[in-house]
């Protein structure tokens, strides 16, 4: 097709996008300064979902804080429960039985798959209904995610916020036969993922809209504190599961997928390959799963108050979105003196103002989607 160029100059225009925008995955407002359809500047505004959990945490006990933290990143709640439990365990020296550590890894990886599936579905929906016809991929990924939610329903009674991890172990034993249900779900996810990838990567529209769009350089990614698939998409193989292994991740064999260019496609590709790595981890965990107690503290209805010694500690884990950390200051009482939640979405989202410059308005949606922010996690 012959390319035609119009020799026109455009005035600058300000366009407001959000805070209620279907493609913003939450409440995010972006002020765009446009010249024609090209973006000159993006001013992000966040905080629409601010609930003040850090202040709230100071008035709750450690045991109560674990489920509250799970409400921040509502697409991968086990990761938040895990980091909150781990920070208290490390400060108060509470041991965790080996079986509980394996079950934590299984639950965390199941939620990583579920979170990436939600992301994949919404991301391909953002890129236009033309991909595979309407919302096909969105429904395909949600169908697969449903299997993981069913697993958690059978395991804990709750589909979404399982409240599985508790300080000193896990709360629920796996019912009989659930391991077979999980392994079957994984087999199906694995084969269907190949199908979905083929549909996306065989689609010229998808490739055109993701390749070379929103390139994040390694230096900028590090300086901004990006983590998770956003950092790895730029080619830096930094994964907290490898760098500072927690639970039993040091025994697990898995690769850390990385991108090469750092564009939207690389971030897509890293997340998709991470699903396969998570499947590998869960299969290995089931092979090695020992028997034994679930927790080092008795599972009673009203747990004893935990009083960690005076001190300050920072603990981080690899959530589906990246480095999720808690900086905890304890004064020896059953409630935290100060609790800082270092959320991956907050740091990753900061990159958007640098990535969109020079791109078209429609690319904002693709770039924002590729950063995978969860606004409960950004605004806390």
């Amino acid at each position: 097709m012959e390319e035609k160029t119009l020799d026109l100059t455009f005035d600058e225009m300000r366009v407001n996008m959000g805070p209620q925008h279907p493609a913003s995955h939450g409440v995010f407002r972006a002020q765009l300064l446009l010249e024609g359809e090209e973006i000159k500047q993006l001013t992000p505004h966040i905080g629409y979902l601010h609930r003040g959990v850090e202040k709230l945490a100071e008035s709750l006990t450690y045991v109560q804080n674990v489920p509250i933290m799970a409400r921040n990143d509502y697409l991968g709640p086990v990761a938040n429960e895990l980091v909150m439990s781990r920070v208290v365990e490390r400060l108060a020296n509470i041991p965790v039985p080996e079986r509980a550590q394996y079950l934590r890894v299984i639950a965390a990886e199941l939620h990583r798959i579920s979170s990436h599936l939600v992301w994949l579905g919404t991301f391909s929906l953002d890129l236009g209904g033309a991909l595979g016809g309407g919302s096909t991929i969105f429904l395909y990924t949600f169908e697969l995610r449903e299997k993981i939610l069913d697993v958690f329903e059978a395991w804990t009674g709750a589909r979404f916020h399982p409240n599985l991890v508790m300080i000193g172990g896990v709360r629920y034993e796996m019912p009989d036969g659930l391991d077979q249900q999980i392994l079957q779900a994984l087999d199906e996810i694995e084969s269907r993922m190949h199908e979905i990838m083929e549909m996306l990567e065989g689609n010229p529209v998808f490739m055109e809209r993701t390749r070379g769009v929103g390139i994040l350089s390694q230096e900028l990614a590090l300086s901004l504190g990006c983590s998770g698939p956003v950092l790895r998409g730029s080619g830096i193989a930094f994964d907290i599961r490898k760098a500072y292994p927690y639970e039993v991740y040091d025994r697990m064999e898995f690769e850390v997928p990385t991108g090469t260019v750092g564009d939207v496609y690389d971030r897509y590709s890293v997340r998709v390959r991470e699903i396969f790595e998570s499947i590998k981890i869960i299969r290995q965990a089931f092979q090695e799963l020992p028997s034994g107690p679930l927790g080092s503290r008795p599972p009673v209805k009203v747990p004893m108050a935990i009083r960690p010694p005076k001190g300050e500690i920072y603990e981080r884990i690899e959530s589906p979105r990246g480095e999720l950390g808690v900086y905890l200051v304890s004064d020896g009482s059953p409630k935290p003196y100060r609790l800082k939640l270092r959320s991956p979405s907050f740091s990753n989202l900061q990159a958007i103002q640098f990535l969109v410059v020079g791109h078209k308005v429609a690319d904002v949606v693709a770039i924002l989607g590729s950063l995978d922010p969860v606004f409960g996690d950004v605004d806390r």
Partner: protein, 144 residues
Amino acid sequence: MATTLERIKDQFGWEPDESGFLFVPKDQVVEFARFLKETLGFSYLSFITCVDYKEHLDLVYLVRNPESAEELLFKVRVTPDDAVVPSLTETYQGAEWHEREVYDLFGVRFDGHPDLRRILLPDEYEGHPLRKDFPMDAPFPPYR
């Protein structure tokens, strides 16, 4: 190969105090951050936050060397009456939002920050809620 703390001691003469934390004088924090990033390779800023100990406020910085995965946590101590710290935005671009958050929730001002506004709370909000003297029992304006 000297450890990071030894090299910091050679360059600046600081050591972690008895609580185990490295305190950096606030007028040297920009120079220190540049030394960390350019000489020691701590190119990753994980977060900046603040803790209110009533008599003083401690700013907490965590930087990381992505190659060796080494972490360094250091603090800057300020008093609540004179809560002004030089901004690290020139060294670490990611400091921009973290410093806005600390300003928003603690009222610490950052000298040289390009755009120091509230980030999580509305612009017209009064007070800094994570300070320990923030009243939790009184409704906040405009309902007060």
